[in-house]
């Protein structure tokens, strides 16, 4: 029995009986595949045929549409008038006797081309993976460097913030003391009720109140930065995930402004074994994505709850949703629908890796026009003691 790979498969147009018989005789042993027109012939060539045998100059002309990557094409009876229509890559034969040798050559060429295409696809795939891993590495390095920087800044800010916090408190206390002093009988009424004095005290009071708010805000941000960039944790240790969520919310506050309402449905959560800084990065990614998904006003709902030995964190947005054709790919490295400079296509891929390092999983449900919900499931305690780092 002959090797099936060795059998030539010839697409023959036109598909009338006379033509088919003519080719069958000229190429004994070949498999003859009739094709009604050029488009059908091309489809067959793409699939499994080795060469097209077109009979007659009129047919050859219609095959011009086959494109630049010239298929092995043999034109029988090309005729003198057909020369301009048939490109260099085509072979025009005038006699059936020449066909077999040309067919062998055409088949070899075709197979080599097909093999090359496979090799190229494979090397493109490997290259894509390499680029993605490299980008992920760069991203991780960047996060680590950023983390160190942020931790340093947060640390350096302690002293000045401590001083300012204390001072604005002292200011309020001094003001109260001043008020007591001037309200005593020893203070002349003309001074006590002087409009300028009343005004100045009012201003200082108001300023102090705002200073207090401002320093409280700064302290909150620094605390969040510190939690976010906590570099001193080499080991996964039990942590309150809600703390991580709150810190992250503080940091993405400016992205949401008054546009987005955050609804917290925090259920009772036990402390979860984790690298809180890494999980905070995941939360950050989810929240920023949710923010980008919402045009105009909207809501982000964060739910936390326990389910058996796991905890679940759900981040749901009322945004535009993800079309089904993209849903399967969103965790793939390099997949993004955002314009250049907005998304790297790495956020969700890295998020998934972090969650998997925590022996958890991340799932997505989405409906176009209604919104998207990400659900993160994490074990309270890792079954395996091994650390992902």
């Amino acid at each position: 029995m002959p090797d099936p790979a060795a059998i030539l498969r010839l697409v023959v147009i036109p598909s009338d009986a006379v033509t088919l018989e003519r080719v069958r005789r000229a190429a004994p042993g070949a498999e003859i595949l009739p094709a009604a027109d050029a488009a059908a012939a091309r489809a067959r060539l793409e699939k499994d045929a080795d060469a097209i045998v077109a009979v007659g100059p009129a047919v050859a002309g219609s095959l011009e549409s086959l494109g630049r990557e010239a298929p092995p094409l043999i034109v029988l009876d090309a005729g003198p008038g057909s020369a301009p229509a048939v490109s260099d890559a085509f072979v025009s034969l005038s006699s059936d006797l020449e066909l077999p040798a040309w067919l062998q050559a055409a088949a070899r060429l075709r197979r080599t081309q097909r093999d090359l295409r496979l090799v190229r696809a494979e090397s493109e795939r490997i290259n894509g993976e390499l680029v993605a891993s490299y980008a992920q590495l760069v991203q991780q390095e960047k996060m680590a460097a950023l983390g160190a920087l942020v931790a340093g800044i947060a640390h350096e800010m302690h002293t000045p913030i401590g001083s300012i916090t204390s001072n604005s408190d002292i200011l309020v206390r001094s003001l109260n003391r001043l008020r007591e002093l001037i309200s005593s009988d020893t203070c002349p009424e003309s001074f006590r009720k002087h409009p300028d004095l009343v005004r100045v005290i009012g201003i200082v009071e108001e300023i102090s109140r705002v200073n207090r708010m401002a320093t409280e805000r700064i302290i909150g941000i620094v605390r969040s930065l510190r939690n976010f960039a906590r570099l001193d944790e080499a080991e996964a240790r039990p942590a309150d995930l809600r703390e991580g969520l709150e810190s992250t919310l503080t940091l993405v506050h400016h992205e949401m402004k008054n546009r987005i309402t955050v609804v917290r449905e925090f259920g009772d959560l036990p402390a979860v074994q984790c690298h809180l800084n890494q999980l905070s990065q995941v939360f950050m990614n989810m929240l920023v994505n949710a923010t980008h998904a919402i045009q105009g006003k909207g809501t982000i709902t964060i739910r936390t709850f326990r389910e058996g030995d796991d905890v679940k964190i759900q981040i749901a947005d009322s945004g535009s949703g993800i079309p089904p054709e993209n849903l399967a790919r969103i965790f793939d490295t390099g997949f993004t629908t955002k314009s250049v400079g907005v998304g790297t296509g790495l956020g969700l891929a890295i998020s998934r890796k972090i969650i998997e390092d925590h022996h958890g999983r991340i799932e997505v449900a989405s409906e176009v026009g209604k919104g998207t919900t990400f659900t993160i499931t994490l074990p309270i305690e890792w079954k395996i003691p091994a650390d992902p780092k």
């Binding site: 931790a151 947060a154 640390h155 302690h158 002293t159 000045p160 913030i161 401590g162 001083s163 916090t165 204390s166 001072n167 408190d169 002292i170 206390r173 001094s174 003391r177 302290i219 510190r226 001193d232």
Partner: protein, 160 residues
Amino acid sequence: MNSPDRQPVILVVDDEEMVLVSIKSFLMLETEYEVLTANSPPEGVEIAKQRTIDLVISDYLMPEMDGITFLMQVKNLQPHTIRILLTGYADKENAIKAINDVGLYQYIEKPWQNADLAIVIRNGLEKRFLLERLAQKIREVKSAQENLQEIQDQIIKAFM
């Protein structure tokens, strides 16, 4: 609170002037303590050599000497001084270690709250003065006992 017989003396040591000014201003406004400040640990040690310090507050990270080493030196000079460390968040673990090494009374995290600081200082001073009184009482009891012993001896001699 047990009001002491004398004005409490507090020493604050930090290489940052802003911290010194903030703490000193607060204590001057809200308390009757005498507040001494030093811009560096050696300066603080000099003060501790000359004055009785009831309570010392030291920063942890300082150029010449860390706060724990400094507090250790104060401890050697004046063992009964109440020692408080002011630390940034990242130095917390060192501070906890120091609780045992230096016999730290308390550590306060930066940024601190004045109200917390006031309570820690007040409690620290209370401990200091209670211990001082206790020592005084013990001395009194001891001398009373000695007197008693002497009288007892005299009585015995008189009857012998």
